[in-house]
Amino acid sequence: MSKQQFPIYIPSKGRHESCMTMKALDLMGMDYYVIVEDQQYNDYASVIDKRKLLVLDMDYKRTYETCDHLGDEKSKGAGPARNFAWDHAISHNSGWHWVMDDNIRSFRIFNKNEKVKCETPDFWRAMEDFTLRFSNVGMSGPNYTFFAPSRQKKHPMIVNTRIYSCNFIRNDLKFRWRGRYNEDTILSLDVLKDNWCTILFNQFLQEKMVTQALKGGNTAEFYAKEGTANKSKMIVQVHPDVARLAYRYGRAHHHVDYNVFKKNAFKVRTDINSVKKPVYKFNLIEKHHDTDASDL
């Protein structure tokens, strides 16, 4: 097996000192692009190979559909940079692309009741290959480590649900990222409502820092100032048919009913021979000297 077939993009803002996802990908020997705003280019260029840096075209920020009426008063989150990534991938004739958050500490494989860090690029290739077995999957990605308890016998994946923080996206979907908050859920629902399928892998996991624990990104921009109430309200406003708002423990929460998408049936591609089991390089070893991203 080889590296992933499709480009990886990491929008990043104010986190050049941590570069967490980038370090995790470096350990796996992956190529990737980091999308930064012009004013932070020099900060990032001091720690990342300039060939990996893309400067965000600010038109994406100006024209971004925030799904509210607050205009430029508040941060628009990562959505504009994610749309920039999408179009960049299309302009390079790629059929799919990966886009992921910049605060992912490690990528892990969940097998035999252990969640072990992965340093092989086949991590990505396996998800890509499996996704491409179907003609009607629009998006896939790894689940969060904390949603896959080691002691539980989990299915290797959850189908037709939300894909978050690390998304493998089919480029010819008619949708784009939108929403000032909760853009992962909004896009997932856009895709599912259009009868596409999604795959959230439990075997392949992302160890994500708690959203508001790392400085930079959306933390400083809005969560730290206003809590998460607007975030929950937005998803209900954009997709009222499947999302509802609930107040528990003095906080607003949103609940999305993904059961309605169980009817989205998977279709195997007829133009590939997918029966043969691919051979991925997943060798489990003991590593005594630990110097990886989790030591940061």
């Binding site: 494989i109 969940f110 097998n111 035999k112 009741n113 252990e114 969640k115 072990v116 860090k117 992965c118 340093e119 092989t120 991590f123 396996a126 290959d129 499996f130 077995r133 179907f134 003609s135 009607n136 080691s150 002691r151 539980q152 016998k153 989990k154 299915h155 290797p156 994946m157 189908v159 089919r170 010819d172 979907l173 008619k174 009868n195 596409w196 399928c197 795959i199 075997q203 049936a265 998977f266 279709k267 195997v268 591609r269 007829t270 997918s274 029966v275 089991k277 691919p278 991925y280 390089k281 997943f282 060798n283 489990l284 070893i285 003991e286 590593k287 005594h288 630990d290 989790s294």
Partner: protein, 206 residues
């Protein structure tokens, strides 16, 4: 009912409605051009009696791209100004509200595809076409997974769990002594016998 007459008019003389809210991007314009090339200009442009376009802005743009000097038109001068403004919107929106019978559509597309007809001029993007034309049986995604990637997990949860209540701190201490474990005040659960959390930090998939 007013009888409508089709009259060919110079494309250059037609004036777009200044407040037309319908957008025609390059992709859709290309689709219209391809459609007119294949089928001809079969859908007359609707005019307001003074060469102002009510419906057919995209088709006129396509006619300009193709260099068509004249296009078929129908005059709707009997409409009031409000009716004309409303029709500019309704002509687009009402068509948009119709739904497809996906099964019949798929059969029709398949039939055209079998006849080597160029489906790209129908106005569907590639993703939609590939989805509509896919005739494979619905797959069991989990069975597919079994064929693709090795994965093995078992239920490793407790055999039995029970809640133990303590009336005072002394009872807690006595219990710790009894089971030979020292758990913190914030502990929500323990295992008996004591289980050490599996250490995975020294392991790697490479």
């Amino acid at each position: 009912m007013i009888k409508l007459a089709i009259k060919y008019k110079k494309t250059a003389d037609l004036v777009p409605y200044a407040n037309n809210s319908r957008l025609h991007d390059e992709t859709q314009l290309g689709q219209l051009v391809a459609s007119i090339n294949e089928f001809g200009f079969t859908n007359p442009v609707l005019l307001d009696g003074a060469n102002g376009i009510i419906a057919g802005h995209g088709r006129v743009m396509a006619a300009n791209v193709l260099g068509l000097e004249t296009v078929p038109t129908i005059e709707l001068q009997h409409l009031t100004n409000e009716q004309k403004a409303a029709y500019v919107i309704a002509d687009n929106k009402l068509a948009q509200n119709a739904k497809w019978d996906d099964e019949i559509l798929r059969l029709e597309l398949q039939s055209l595809s079998d006849a080597d007809y160029d489906l790209s001029i129908l106005g569907f993007d590639e993703a939609s076409l590939s989805r509509l034309l896919d005739v494979a049986e619905t797959a069991d995604a989990f069975e597919e997974y079994n064929q693709a990637i090795e994965y093995e997990n078992k239920n490793a949860g407790p055999y039995k769990s029970l809640i133990v209540h303590f009336e005072n701190e002394q009872d807690v201490d006595n219990f710790k002594h009894l089971i030979k474990q020292n758990f913190s005040n914030s502990a929500k659960y323990i295992y008996h016998p004591l289980q050490i959390r599996k250490e995975t930090e020294s392991k790697r998939y490479v």
